[in-house]
């Protein structure tokens, strides 16, 4: 009986498939038949002097030509019209490149979400995921309100995107007869005279960079951070700390002018954001993780650390791959010009450093601890990417590989140092990956830049040269930038976190942390089938769960 029924259903399925295929074939042949008569109407367009023959061009060699140049007399453009068109095309390519690479960087948010959630515990997945999700929306809003204006309001003309000098208002301080740009003052809400295609493209690109920095601390502070506190932080970083430091480096501020004002190389150079994005994120993460204290159970009373393995290695590895893919937007996109063909060098340097970062972290962990640790290999690849972000435009492939290799070892060493010596609990290694290797990245630029690129960078003539290529002052500028980044970002973030913690409390209660943040903080389990329905699991402590945070952490603080 069952055998007959299953035979019947197999037959039925075959008949349905055959019917669907038949219908598709019939429809396809009809569509092709409809295509043929479309040729003749070409003769109807009599206005053009020489109507192009409408025949298909499967090889693509004949598509696009003089007739496609916008001209008063079609097919006969004047020199001026051709030049106009060429200029418009150049800016189109650059704008398109900037937008497309910006879209790639936007997707890195998904990578961060997966890495951070995979390397933390199952009881907190909804909370960790939603921090990574909402930072995109929150950060963007804050950046639109005032972040972009503070960062880029005084940029001046943007040569690759049409040279519009709409962002022309920088707040400067005069010291020693030199101008120190501190923050921009134009572009709030992208309103008024900044309602412009080039400015909007720049906004999109800079916004996704800011969001990358903003999502880094959520990893180091995961599994114990109040969601409400995280929301306020999202506005704080996107509206204040990030934009101000980014202004100093990318918005025409004082660090970028160290070359012009004091003869220190090309000023602080950070091609795609080892310091501006990653070190800012990593140092903010450090301040946040210090103020939050370690997770319950992380440290024993004698101060020794307990590993708390993440719940989903595949998720973390997939996230790493998405990040590595997004980095092709991050670094090559930072030319802000698709016509700047250095992008091929930048892209190759980026991938080489990611490879050596992963390889060297693998061998380091294997040799030192017996097995190639998956989460550390992921951290190693990310560390290589973070480190090459600043120097990617200025170094040869050999040095790119070396920079990645150093970061692969550095990240493993730093993660263990931060955990066991500094006793700071960073569940995903965000401080080691982004903070430490962000610093290594900008410093390595000051060492290995080979003088093949960067003529006129930050308004200084000549190419960018590091210490080993006859540019010691460039290294000094890099050191100043690194120290400034740490001092300003750590100071500002630490004060913010401390004050917020004292006034509102940043940490969930002990009960919430032990139960998992998903239901108490977000109202839903990340994995209901595994953890049981919320009503069952949560019933026991429902009344006391939303009690205000009490400093129940004392025994675990352990330092």
């Amino acid at each position: 009986m069952t055998g007959f029924a299953s035979l019947g259903s197999t037959l039925r399925r075959k008949v349905i498939v055959a019917l669907v295929v038949g219908v598709l074939l019939a429809a396809g042949s009809w569509v092709f038949a409809q295509d043929k008569p479309a040729a003749p109407p070409a003769a109807a367009t009599a206005a053009a002097p020489s109507p192009p023959p409408s025949k298909p061009d499967p090889a693509g060699t004949a598509t696009g030509g003089i007739a496609d140049v916008t001209a008063k007399t079609a097919g006969k453009p004047t020199l001026e019209e051709v030049a106009d068109f060429a200029g418009h095309n150049r800016v189109s390519i650059n704008l398109m490149w900037t937008l497309l690479t910006g879209f790639l960087v936007m997707f890195m948010q998904a990578g961060f979400a997966l890495v951070e959630t995979g390397f933390t515990r199952a009881k907190n997945v909804a909370h960790t995921m939603m921090m990574n999700f909402m930072i995109y929306a929150i950060g963007m809003t804050g950046y639109w309100i005032c972040g972009f204006a503070l960062q880029m309001g005084g940029l001046g003309a943007l040569s690759t995107m049409g040279g519009t000098g709409l962002l022309d208002s920088e707040f400067t301080l005069s010291l020693f007869g030199k101008d120190f740009g501190l923050f921009g003052m134009k572009g709030f809400f992208l309103a008024g005279s900044t309602y412009d295609v080039a400015v909007f493209a720049l906004f999109l690109f800079q916004m996704v960079f800011m969001d990358t920095a903003a999502t880094i601390p959520t990893g180091a502070m995961a599994e114990r951070w109040k969601f409400s506190s995280f929301v306020v932080f999202g506005f704080f970083l996107s509206m204040l700390t990030y934009p101000i430091f980014a202004n100093w480096v990318w918005g025409g501020g004082w660090l970028s002018q160290l070359g012009k004002n004091f003869g220190l190389g090309h000023g602080h150079v950070d091609f795609a954001g080892s310091s501006v994005v990653h070190m800012v994120g990593g140092v903010t993460a450090l301040a946040g993780a210090m103020v939050l204290w370690p997770r319950i159970g992380k440290y024993n009373k004698d101060g020794s650390a307990n590993p708390i393995p993440g719940h989903n290695i595949p998720m973390g590895v997939l996230g790493c791959f998405i990040l590595a893919f997004g980095w092709f937007g991050f670094n090559p996109g930072s030319t802000l010009a698709g016509g700047d063909l250095r992008i091929s060098v930048i892209a190759v340097n980026t991938m080489l450093a990611s490879a050596s970062g992963a390889i060297f972290s693998m061998f380091y962990m294997w040799g030192k601890y017996g097995k190639p640790d998956p989460s550390m290999m992921v951290n190693g690849m990310l560390a290589g990417l973070v480190a090459i972000t600043a120097p990617c435009g200025f170094v040869s492939s050999f040095w790119a590989f070396v920079i990645g290799a150093v970061s692969g070892v550095l990240v493993c060493w730093a993660a263990v140092f931060i955990e066991t010596v500094m006793r700071i609990d960073d569940p995903v290694g965000a401080i080691a990956v982004h903070g430490v290797n962000g610093a290594w990245g900008v410093l390595s630029l000051g060492l290995f830049s080979d003088g093949t690129y960067g003529d006129g960078f930050n308004g200084v003539e000549g190419t960018v040269r590091g210490l080993f290529y006859g540019g010691p002052s460039q290294f000094v500028a890099q050191v100043i930038g690194t120290v400034t980044c740490f001092g300003f970002i750590f100071g500002a973030s630490w004060v913010f976190f401390k004050v917020y913690d004292a006034v509102f409390g940043m940490r969930v209660s002990r009960e919430v942390e032990l139960e998992g943040l998903d239901v108490p903080e977000m109202g839903v389990h990340g994995y209901p089938e595994i953890q049981g329905p919320a009503t069952l699991v949560h019933a026991m402590g429902a009344s006391g769960v939303r009690a205000p945070t009490v400093p129940a952490m004392a025994p675990e603080r352990g330092r």
């Binding site: 590993p307 962990m365 601890y369 640790d373 263990v416 955990e419």
Partner: protein
């Protein structure tokens, strides 16, 4: 009737199942369990830190058989689950008072 509970290594489940079904056992229940015996747990490394896994993952297999078949089933399980190394598991046998097949209401050995 006897209830036989076997705690075995997870990767040995298929071997044990095949041995039992080959001997005409028509039903069994398995569950994923964790535990330790004399081998205790073992240590692993995560991000450079050592941690101890106290409770190792095992499979618990439960079979109920008539008294006369109990010894054979225990022997089959023991043979199929054995690797010879530490942590192979244990087999427990206990007397069983009753059994009911819910669908038909049959009692005793005819319910097996």
């Amino acid at each position: 009737m006897k209830k036989i509970e076997a705690i075995i290594k997870p990767f040995k489940l298929d071997d044990v199942k095949e041995a039992l079904t080959g001997a005409g056992i028509v039903g069994m229940t398995v569950s994923e369990v964790r535990g330790f015996g004399r081998q205790k747990g073992h240590t692993e490394m995560y991000r450079g830190g050592e941690y101890t896994v106290d409770f190792l993952p095992k499979m618990k297999l439960e079979v109920v058989v008539s008294d006369d078949r109990a010894d054979t089933v225990v022997a089959l399980i023991t043979a199929a689950a054995k690797t010879g190394s530490i942590g192979d598991g244990k087999v427990f046998v206990s007397p069983l008072e009753g059994a009911v097949r819910i669908r038909t209401g049959e009692h005793g050995e005819s319910a097996l």
